[in-house]
Amino acid sequence: MTLLQERHHEHDRLNRRGSLEPREPGRPRRSRAVALVLACLTLMTLDLVGGDDSPVDGARRLVGEAYAPVEAGVNTVLGPFFAVGDWFHTQDQLVEDVGRLEAENDQLRGDLATLDFDRNRLREYDGLTATAEQIGYALVPARVIGVGAAQTFSRTVTIDAGTDAGLRPDLTVVSAAGLVGRVIRVTSTTATVLLVIDADSTVGGRVGSSMKIGFLHGRGDLGDFGRTARLDLELVDQTTVPARGDTVVTWGSQDGAPYVSGVPVGTVRSVYSSVRDTTQRAVIDPYVDFGSLDLVGVVVPSGTDSDRAVVEPDGTMQ
């Protein structure tokens, strides 16, 4: 027996006697390891079985409330740095605009040089006001302050409005372009929004031209890696075929929860029919660019108490 084996053997025997010989440093106590793994499994089971009113939601809310000030702080401090990216992005358009206007009026060039971020934001608010008028609901404006990591595969974002702004779960979220998603969880100052492109999201949709109804399912793609964010529409009535370019709007649910009716979702891109299942599936291009969400509006009942101005259906602020 070599020296090494002998020493190893001795070490082993000492341990079995229950002496105070220290454990091998890397190795955890089995009891603790098992306890931790069981804790994880219990948590998953609780959350999964609990479904919509899972006991974990209380903990989520608690952590959310505690984390909201941190997130707001980070956004305030680093916001201007993050905005630098947008500034460069809009620079191309800016140069184009300036070139065109130069011919008309040299004076305007100076003014144009100062427009970028602020004017874009103003345009977004204008768009949101127009949306409120168009779909006929009151909107609470909110900004996207956090985006779920792609590797979790749940397409969710955090917005900077919560119960203080009059929000509660199961409210529709729209942007100037169309339907964004719905509120699934709120804290006092933030809310989590499930985007319609999430694989778990189902929205009742109606084809604008034929008024036929169906269900829109997300695919979980954000539109990265050369894929475009798409939705699948399954029509209830299999006999009608939606035409390419048809508009799809929401069909709405009772009391407008979770989705109000008549919000534009996207246009039909292509239609597939499966002979085996005798179903038809239309692929929808959403109007909203989910890769660059910023200002969104949450549909609330008119006259909601809010910590900020609510955009009323007639376009006024309250």
Binding site: G26, R29, L36, D47, L48, A59, Y67, A150, S154, D221
Partner: protein, 169 residues
């Protein structure tokens, strides 16, 4: 693990959480964010062994599971980081060399992401295309290794500075 070290590890985990949840999403590539909390767990595992890293991984993972806008089944990150902590602890050496650190980060990141995604596939939470999943995991893995090469030595140095290990007599 002594009290100042434990406090430093908790503080590092919290900073990592803020980086991962609030800062890196703004700089994300294709929406993929580096797993900063995982890197702290790996660093702690490399120095203090599996048990400490498993506890820290469980705690950090739990926070990742609960902090908004997370919406997956709670406990998935906790399990993933717990396993990563175990692996990192098993790879620990008294004075980790750079190559060991890099290999550990890659191994732990791979293991953690696999556990996380596989648990998602098993629980069908949310059901996604496997090709997309593989691409995303590959990007995340590369990000973790790159950031890990920078960050893990910093955490290790911080820990060493706080309370230098005595050389064995």
């Amino acid at each position: 693990m002594t009290t100042p070290r434990a406090a430093a590890a908790l503080w590092a985990t919290f900073v990592a959480l803020v980086l991962q949840v609030s800062v890196f999403p703004h700089l994300a590539f294709h929406g993929v964010v580096p797993d900063v909390v995982l890197l702290v767990v790996v660093a702690v595992g490399l120095r203090h062994g599996s048990e400490t890293a498993m506890v820290l991984g469980f705690g950090g993972g739990l926070l990742l599971d609960l902090v908004p806008p997370a919406d997956h089944v709670a406990g998935r990150w906790a399990l993933a980081l717990l396993v990563a902590g175990y692996v990192a602890g098993r790879l620990s050496t008294p004075v980790p060399r750079r190559s060991v650190v890099l290999a550990s980060v890659a191994a732990c990141s791979f293991v953690a992401l696999s556990v996380f995604e596989l648990s998602g596939l098993v629980l069908r939470d949310p059901l996604v295309d496997v090709a997309l999943l593989l691409e995303t995991v590959a990007v995340a893995l590369v990000m973790d290794v790159v950031l890990g090469a920078l960050l893990v030595p910093v955490v290790l140095a911080l820990d060493e500075r706080l309370e230098p290990d005595r050389l064995p007599a």
